[in-house]
Subunit: 239 residues, 2 copies
């Protein structure tokens, strides 16, 4: 049987058939991706643990420009890992982050994690009402609503600079101290400044300098911290 | 009362207080962001409708490099808008996309939209089982499960190149014809090729060439198409 030859592929030449013939699982594809990143990455000064985080962020965006723009406070990874091991509440500024976080990965680090450990209030009615009343973004009131959980909790921002600004206020004026702040809002208004303000505070942080950010990046940081936590667990002497 | 002067901001100098004093709503901040993008954007050859899409993608990522890498088939926007007006099912390859899509915006275009119009099967048990059995990624079987909805539906990919590859096969071998394919998987393995293969097919598409992509970008395309649809509605003569 002859097959049509043309610029539009017929069935025989389709990419998916090559994969059917030589199956690769999601895990195997991920391993290949990490190998490509390690091969192509330019020089950097990150520690092994930091590189674990940044490499996963590159995996998530295919953006090598993140290198050297991702900033860690000295205590960020240790404090983040300890917070995860304690099963600390994870507050996020977008429901995309909440839905992107893998409960399975979190539960490998702490069996305390459940759906209720992941909170996002930005779509709540009371938050929307207050925002309308005051003519301010909803994300600000979502942070305020989460105040008690932010103490010792993990705050993850991939969207709203105003949420980071309100957290900065809670840290400075009300003495709130999160276990880790992942600050990766994205955009053009307030974004650069809110990150600089956060980095001037004495709090564990992982931040992308500048305008870049996004929910998948914020999620990838938490998942990479889970990997670091699991690796450390394996290296611990048996009790 | 004197205030402490130092490198760490005290309450008075915090960014959020400037915002409290001069409130800006989320909508106002968005308008400012779009103005900045229009001001800073380099020359491009996009039509007004296409720029509406690309501008929102830049808003989502702060990445001007997207310009000229976002490719539209000639019929992409018209077919996408018609599909939205018909309330067509939106299939996505990640739950982050499903949770990022705004039902309110979709319902402005078609009152038929509801939570059930947004489908994602990647976390389904039967999909996971099949993936394990065959040693292939789950996203492939999620697409196969959605076969009947993809006919005339809107397919939105921000994650899994293998999902795009399987859709390409359904288009070529089984004659499935979606109303629009938004193909923005991201990464290092299969990503560039699956997009090139899709762009060789006779199907309405919006694609980011190369390795870049991501769920928020895919979501922003759908939201921008909603804006285009609403704008066209206003310009229509009254019935």
């Amino acid at each position: 049987m002859s097959k049509r030859q043309g610029s539009e592929p017929d069935g025989t030449g389709l990419l998916i058939h090559a994969l059917y013939n030589n199956p690769l699982s999601g895990k195997e594809i991920e391993a290949r991706s990490f190998a490509i990143i390690d091969r192509e990455a330019p020089e950097h000064a990150y520690s092994d643990d930091q590189w674990e985080i940044v490499r996963r962020m590159i995996h998530t965006t295919a953006d090598f420009d993140l290198i050297n723009r991702v900033k860690f406070s000295a205590d960020a990874i240790d404090s983040g890992v300890e917070s995860l091991k304690a099963g600390s509440t994870i507050f996020s500024d977008s429901n995309m982050i909440r839905s992107g976080l893998s409960l399975a990965r979190l539960q490998e680090v702490s069996p305390r994690y459940g759906r209720d450990s992941l909170v996002c209030y930005v779509a709540d009615d009371d938050v929307a009402l207050e925002a309308r009343k005051q003519g301010l973004p909803r994300s600000l009131f979502a942070v305020r609503k989460a105040r008690s959980m932010l103490e010792g909790g993990i705050a993850v921002f991939g969207n709203a600079p105003v949420a980071v600004m309100e957290l900065n206020r809670l840290i400075v004026e009300e003495g709130v101290r999160p276990g880790l702040v992942v600050a990766m809002p994205v955009g053009f208004v307030h974004v650069v400044e809110c990150k600089e303000e956060l980095m001037s505070l004495d709090v564990p942080f992982i931040v992308i300098e500048g305008r870049r950010g996004g929910s998948p990046l914020a999620v990838s940081v938490i998942h990479a911290l889970c990997s670091v936590a699991s690796k450390r667990k394996k290296e611990e002497p048996m009790a």
